[in-house]
Amino acid sequence: MRIEKTQIVSVSEVQSGIFILTVESEYFAAATLPGQFFNIRVSESLFPLLRRPFSISDLTGKNLSFMFDVHGEGTKILSQKRAGEWLDIIGPLGHGFGIEGEYESAIIVAGGLGVAPFPYLTKKIRNKKKIYSFIGARSSRHLVTQGIVNVYSATDDGTTGYYGNVVDLLKLKISEIPGIKKIFSCGPTPMLKSLTDWVNFVGIESEVSLECAMACGFGICQGCPAELHDGSGYKLVCKDGPVFNSQEIIIS
């Protein structure tokens, strides 16, 4: 974990409204695991005040990429950055996905921009595990599959792939997926909730990457609680997560 001024290599709109910003950092590239995130200061001024958290999306050589859509002021400023500018970043933060293990089939389940962490995860495990990627979006325009392999897509409006939500598609296909399975998921809370309710019931090992409003991103503000199933209180999304075992936390 370090604070570093990194130089922007490129910012590109890969499809309508979805951006990939790439920075160069030897240290970050060597230290970052899939599912970890970075807290980015989008402006040198104090507006907006807080940093913005983004998952590592892809990593090639010394280059780290973040994938985002324009949500509010912070992401708007980021989308307007240019190659050569400097970006103040803290990272890598949190615990990423548990990619080691006995499982044979990795099942990625992503909704919307929840796909962001998975190109890097795919890169890390594709030579060792069979990957099945269930990607959901509002419509074909919003469906991102860059860097993702073996895609099963679902859209809310049926413009491409399965007409419906991605968790229902997974339920339809699960019997076709062989061997010991492990699910890696990220996306909107309702999707994660319906997914974890189901996987906890059927008993497939599953990890979810959570989002939460954050002030610091590294454990000093106590601003990002994730409620534990056992009633003992909260863990911190930034420090103990953002990836949690689906049995461990309550998604609500």
Partner: protein
């Protein structure tokens, strides 16, 4: 070389820059970015006798030049602090101030009584001003009699530096500072956060689970500065200035208004190395302006 040191009671701070309670935990994570050996001191997250889980999410909302928090005093409790947090903190050559938040005067006294036997602890900051818990907190901070009782009670069980952290959510903050002074408190810190809220217009619900939270960050600096000045003009007691500090100039302003030391809060989230860096910047300012002893600037504002 300018002398940046500040002495309050028998505690010498190598410089006036401290880290504010609730914005640096117990020093574990912040020390990755900020060399605690280079600053004046660190104030722990508020401790209560027993651990507190804190409020459900959402606990944080960003606002214009500030943020609201309703953490609900999530903390490990005195026992766990002594076992796992203090040993690590004690390894730094800096002042350790334990901040205490409790739900009754007795609990404040009990926490202090236990902690004061630890030689690694240099002093206490009594938080009578947290806006985010149902019991205690602001209710004490808004009640002169309660502040009087708590200050006197804690004073009776410790000889160490005793600071009372005041709430800005009162009509006259200097009345509270006077009570602290009368009951033997060694200093006051001002300010804690201002009560605020934020509403999601889509869902029409408050964004914070707790409905209201505490506003901090650059947005509150002018208010904090005015409170420090008010205390300085009315009560003779050392003041630790807190609120919205985001650059070295802010620190000089607080000192001119009457602060002996200052604390950095929200800025730790944005630039966790800020406190360390700002010490060098203050030293640079003093050298350029031929100020041999920084604390001679305390209260040096030229009022009309």
């Amino acid at each position: 070389m300018t002398d940046l040191s500040v002495k309050i009671k028998d505690v010498v701070f190598r410089n006036p820059v401290l880290l504010a309670s609730g914005t640096v935990g117990y020093g574990d994570e912040i020390s990755n970015f900020c060399d605690l050996n280079k600053i004046g001191g660190i104030v722990t997250k508020s401790l209560s006798l027993k651990p507190r889980k804190g409020n459900p999410p959402q606990r944080i909302v960003e606002t214009a030049s500030g943020m609201l928090n309703a953490i609900g005093l999530a903390n490990v409790g005195v026992e766990e602090f002594l076992k796992t947090k203090l040993p690590n903190l004690a390894g730094y050559d800096t002042n350790i101030i334990c901040n205490i938040a409790a739900s009754s005067p007795e609990e404040y006294i009990e926490c202090t009584r236990i902690l004061t036997t630890e030689s690694a602890i240099n002093g206490f900051e009594i938080n009578v001003s947290c806006p985010n818990v149902k019991d205690g907190g602001l209710e004490f901070g808004n009640n002169l009699d309660a502040v009087r009782r708590i200050t006197a009670g804690v004073r009776a069980v410790t000889d160490k530096l005793l600071i009372v952290k005041l709430s800005p959510n009162v009509a006259r903050i200097s009345d509270f500072a006077r009570v602290v002074s009368e009951e033997g408190g060694d200093a006051v810190s001002a300010i804690n956060t201002l009560v605020g809220t934020s509403i999601d217009i889509r869902t029409r619900k408050p964004k914070l689970f707790n409905v209201t939270g505490g506003l901090s960050g650059p947005a509150i600096k002018p208010v904090a500065l005015a409170k420090v000045l008010e205390i300085k003009r009315n009560v003779r007691i050392p003041i630790i200035g807190i609120g919205g500090i985001s650059k070295w100039e802010d620190i000089i302003e607080f000192i001119l208004a009457g602060a002996s030391c200052i604390q950095v809060g929200t800025m730790n989230f944005i630039s966790p190395d800020f406190a360390e860096k700002v010490v060098a910047e203050i030293a640079g300012y003093c050298e350029q302006n031929n100020i041999p002893v920084l604390n001679e600037l305390t209260g040096a504002v030229r009022l009309p």
